[in-house]
């Protein structure tokens, strides 16, 4: 789901949920696309900015515009990326 009225067209939005939100102490950040053009580079950024996330990295899945990210997939300006810790609905 793209955020259509984004005033920063070369940015991506990163959402944090549940234990990832608690670890990062924020629920949302904006990043320049060039800082995080794919999952690997995003994680490089996240573990530096939010060291508490490092231990959770293997259990957290990423989504891009509400679909789980495939390993080799790149991001695009306007994307909404989310950190999805193990789910526990129902």
């Amino acid at each position: 789901m793209r955020f259509e009225d984004d005033p920063h067209p070369m940015m991506i939005r990163i959402l944090f949920f549940a234990k990832a939100r608690e670890a990062a102490a924020t629920d949302e950040i904006l990043l320049p696309l060039e800082s995080a053009p794919d999952s690997s580079r995003l994680w490089d950024y996240l573990v530096v900015q939010f060291p508490q996330l490092a231990a959770m990295r293997d259990s957290i899945r990423l989504s891009r515009n509400s679909q789980f990210v495939q390993d080799t997939e790149g991001f695009a300006a306007g994307d909404e990326i989310a950190l999805i810790p193990p789910v526990s609905g129902g």
């Binding site: 789901m1 959402l15 949920f17 549940a18 234990k19 989504s63 509400s66 679909q67 789980f68 989310a82 999805i84 810790p85 789910v87 526990s88 609905g89 129902g90």
Partner: protein, 124 residues
């Protein structure tokens, strides 16, 4: 509509409707228990990534429907504080015969607990 998905912050109620094509209606209720890790609780807090959760639930149901054909499915999931004894999730599947409806509900609940971004975030 064949598939109805809603994430709600209020008590859940079964939809009422007449449908003469389905010989089987299977309903599952997921209820918050009054114990968590051995201690008594008054309820659980749930959080959802709402847009993704609704999309994923819909996709999972469409996928299941290709193998276990059903006419209609309704999934209602509650978020926020859910008191013990109340429903966190309602799933209703209507199909011609019981086999497909039972299978679809069981498979859906397994997938919900793996791939739908909804979390229990704490007990009170």
């Amino acid at each position: 509509m064949a598939i109805d998905v809603q994430i709600l912050s209020e008590a859940l109620h079964w939809p009422e409707r007449l449908d003469s094509q389905s010989g089987a209606v299977v309903r599952f209720t997921g209820v918050v228990r009054d114990k968590e890790d051995g201690r008594s609780i008054s309820g659980l807090d749930y959080e959802a990534y709402r847009t993704m959760a609704e999309l994923q639930i819909r996709q999972i149901l469409e996928e299941i429907r290709r193998e276990h054909f059903f006419h209609e499915a309704v999934v209602l999931h509650r978020i926020g504080f859910v008191p013990a004894g109340e429903a966190a999730v309602l799933v209703e599947v209507r199909s011609s015969h019981r086999g497909e409806a039972f299978d679809a509900v069981r498979i859906f609940m397994e997938r919900l607990k793996q791939d739908v971004p909804i979390w229990k975030i704490g007990a009170k």
